[in-house]
């Protein structure tokens, strides 16, 4: 069972990595992806909204697909919501397996699907007061479809 968290608080990458190894010695590799808020074009903050209830279902469903497809010993998805400043961590995906290929592929799969299959929306706030909802990127859809 994957560990799924949707929260305003930040997260501890080291503790989450450690938790995937706790009390077991069959883990050969842990792949991770940490998504971070960039400061493109004078961005002052990023506000992340989601659909409570559906988000957790969608993430659990995506994680279950990964666990069915790759022999994972563990899987963690943490997605923050609320207001992020440039440099703040937004999302963490961790996958652990006996073998590196399963960990690396499932991690890429999860972040690709999470971008297109989980109900989060980003609003950008700029230093000059402008606001803008981030638009979905066709290449994200293409990235998810390749799996």
């Amino acid at each position: 069972m994957a560990r799924i968290l949707v929260q305003e608080a930040g997260f501890d990458v080291a503790a989450e990595t450690q938790a995937l190894q706790a009390d077991r010695t069959d883990v050969g590799g842990i792949a991770s992806f940490l998504g971070v808020c960039r400061s493109d074009d004078g961005l002052a903050a990023l506000v992340l909204e989601h659909y409570p209830g559906m988000t957790e279902r969608a993430l659990a469903g995506i994680a279950a697909q990964a666990e069915a497809r790759w022999p994972l010993t563990g899987c963690t998805i943490i997605h923050r919501i609320g207001r992020m400043l440039p440099g703040d961590p937004i999302v963490l995906v961790l996958t652990a397996s006996a073998h590196r290929t399963a960990a690396l592929e499932s991690c890429a799969f999860l972040i690709d699907w999470l971008k297109t299959g989980a109900p989060f929306w980003k609003r950008e706030e700029f230093a000059d007061g402008r606001e803008r909802w981030v638009e979905a990127k066709p290449e994200d859809e293409a990235a998810a479809q390749r799996w």
């Binding site: 998504g35 989601h50 659909y51 559906m54 999302v91 999470l114 109900p119």
Partner: protein, 83 residues
């Protein structure tokens, strides 16, 4: 029927959530969009470009042909941009 709005769809409609009772001929998501569009100028603006709208029925992504029923939770929102 509970209807939820997210992101700019919510901003344009002006509310995050409402309980509605559409008539029996509103059978699917597409027909519900048409019916909701007539409720207010905000609704009309939110649904003005149906290709920009995504929907979920009972917390599962759903297309315009997906059926909707009285006790369903229907959500409308832009394409997702998380991660």
């Amino acid at each position: 029927m509970k209807v939820l709005y997210f992101a700019w769809v919510r901003q344009k409609v002006g509310i995050a959530e409402e309980a509605v009772s559409p008539p029996g001929e509103v059978r699917n998501v597409g027909e519900l969009i048409t019916w909701l569009s007539a409720r207010s100028p905000g609704h009309a603006e939110a649904f003005a470009q149906p290709r920009q709208i995504r929907a979920a029925v009972n917390q599962e992504f759903a297309g315009p042909d997906a059926l909707v029923a009285a006790n369903d939770e229907i959500a409308f929102f832009p394409p997702v941009t998380g991660g």
